[in-house]
């Protein structure tokens, strides 16, 4: 069948021209709990600079063991405390005049001042992020204007309970924003076409408060997202389950560090269950023997690293709940109206 080309007046030009104004990552850094580092990588008294949430921070652990993460620049005269500063007892000490700050950012000592500036008695004067340490991971709560946490980290039996095992971890860099990475969780059609899965699995997504529950493939993958920075996904095959715990970090608006660890029940050494659990984990990441489809490592990055974000995507009836996901995710952005309009 042939048809005449439509006359120009019939064309929706906005559809054709929108790509010119698209951005790769129009998103602010979303609010939430984020992985900072593994507990064993930060010893008491240690201090270093880290790049996260689109800026540099000073990460330290007090002699007593509390982790702290603050703006680098001393409120006094602006010295970078991650260059020459040190941990003194429970405080971070600036190298310039030895002003000291605790892990909440309160000034605890000015060694040569007689009168403490009144604001130091009223509030923190150095921006410090709320910190939590659980499951061997250090987390920081990020909010663009320093609001307190609105939810707590969940319990994760695969990391906290007896009878679980697995030391496998991974870390991958993606040149995109955290929302774009997470969106693949509800985009089930891409599993068939990008990952070469045998079909498009059915997906059930439920959203409540900061939590998103996903069931992909009628129980094959059952996952829960706790805000933008923590996901727990259980994969089940032949009655054997393995768990992926994923904790992606927003480094800049266009750069994310994906971190994961993989756990399973402590099945007997040499058992069929143990072999299946290992295969499930291999398959989560990349290729696995006997599986035709590919894990994220080999196929997702080429898309993430080059795509642009379409705020008004052209979806079809076979697509997953992408827009519901975006509506849920929007709660993590605290930004002005013009920024929110782009996400």
């Amino acid at each position: 069948m042939t048809s005449n080309p439509p006359v120009k007046a019939d064309i929706n030009l906005a559809q054709l021209l929108e790509a010119k104004s698209l951005e790769r990552c129009p998103f602010p850094i979303p609010t939430g709990w984020y992985f900072v580092d593994y507990s064993e990588n930060l010893k008491p008294g240690e201090l270093r600079n880290v790049q996260l949430f689109d800026q540099e921070w000073v990460l330290f652990r007090t002699e007593g063991g509390k982790p702290g993460m603050t703006d680098p620049y001393c409120p006094h005269l602006g010295a970078h405390m991650g260059h020459g500063g040190k941990v003194c007892g429970e405080a971070l000490r600036c190298p310039f005049h030895h002003w000291e700050y605790n892990t909440e950012g309160w000034c605890t000592s000015i060694p040569y001042g007689k009168v403490m500036p009144p604001i130091t008695k009223k509030q923190a004067v150095l921006r410090a992020l709320p910190m939590e340490e659980r499951y061997g991971l250090i987390f920081a709560w990020y909010h663009p204007t320093c609001a307190e946490p609105t939810w707590q980290l969940p319990s994760i039996p695969a990391l906290e309970d007896e009878g679980w095992t697995g030391s496998r971890r991974g870390s991958w860099t993606a040149n995109t924003a955290i929302q774009e990475i997470a969106e693949n969780g509800v985009d089930t059609a891409h599993l068939k076409f990008l990952h070469n899965a045998p079909g498009i699995p059915p997906v059930k997504a439920e959203f409540h408060d900061h939590i998103m529950d996903l069931d992909i493939g009628n129980g094959y993958i059952v996952g829960r997202a706790y805000g933008p920075g923590l996901n727990v996904l259980e994969f089940t095959q032949n009655g054997v389950s393995a768990t992926m715990i994923s904790y992606t970090q927003p480094i800049t608006p266009e750069l994310s560090q994906m971190n994961m660890c993989f756990r399973s029940k402590a099945y007997p050494e040499g058992s069929m269950e143990q072999a299946v659990a290992k295969k499930i984990i291999d398959h989560m990441i990349g290729a696995a023997e006997g599986e035709e489809s590919a894990g994220f490592e080999s196929v997702d990055f080429i898309v993430w690293n080059n795509k642009k974000y379409r705020p008004r995507p052209l979806l079809c009836d076979g697509d997953g709940p992408v827009l519901q996901f975006r509506k849920w995710f929007k709660q993590f952005y605290d930004a002005d109206a013009s920024t929110l309009a782009k996400v």
Binding site: K114, V115, M116, P117, P118, I119, K121, K122
Partner: protein
């Protein structure tokens, strides 16, 4: 320009000229009246403390921040009902003849 009569810590008398929109602290500091004004008006040092001996009636009351700073220096020096931080005091031609005494060092 308003003219302020100043008594320094050692009892010397000075006349300081002050113009509107600039805190009195700057004229006292730059006029060698013995006021330091270290923090520049951020209410964090208390080094521009003065007593207003006369002519303070038209000044607005202390802000919360000024009060907090005066409370903080009260552990070291005498704070009186006439105490002000001169970084918070603005005078103009309509201000009646003002007489101030520079506060003691904390």
């Amino acid at each position: 320009m308003a003219s302020i009569s100043v008594t320094t810590r050692d009892g010397a008398k000075l006349q300081i000229k002050a113009s509107p929109a600039i805190p009195l602290m700057e004229f006292l500091r730059d006029g060698s009246a013995g006021v330091e004004g270290i923090c520049g008006g951020e209410l964090s040092c208390g080094t521009c403390h003065i007593y207003i001996d006369a002519g303070g009636e038209s000044l607005p009351p202390r802000s919360e921040g000024e009060q907090a700073m005066l409370d903080a220096i009260a552990d070291f020096v005498e704070v009186r009902p006439t105490s002000r931080l001169s970084c918070q005091v603005f005078v103009d031609e309509s201000t009646p003849d003002m007489q101030v005494t520079v506060g003691p060092v904390a």
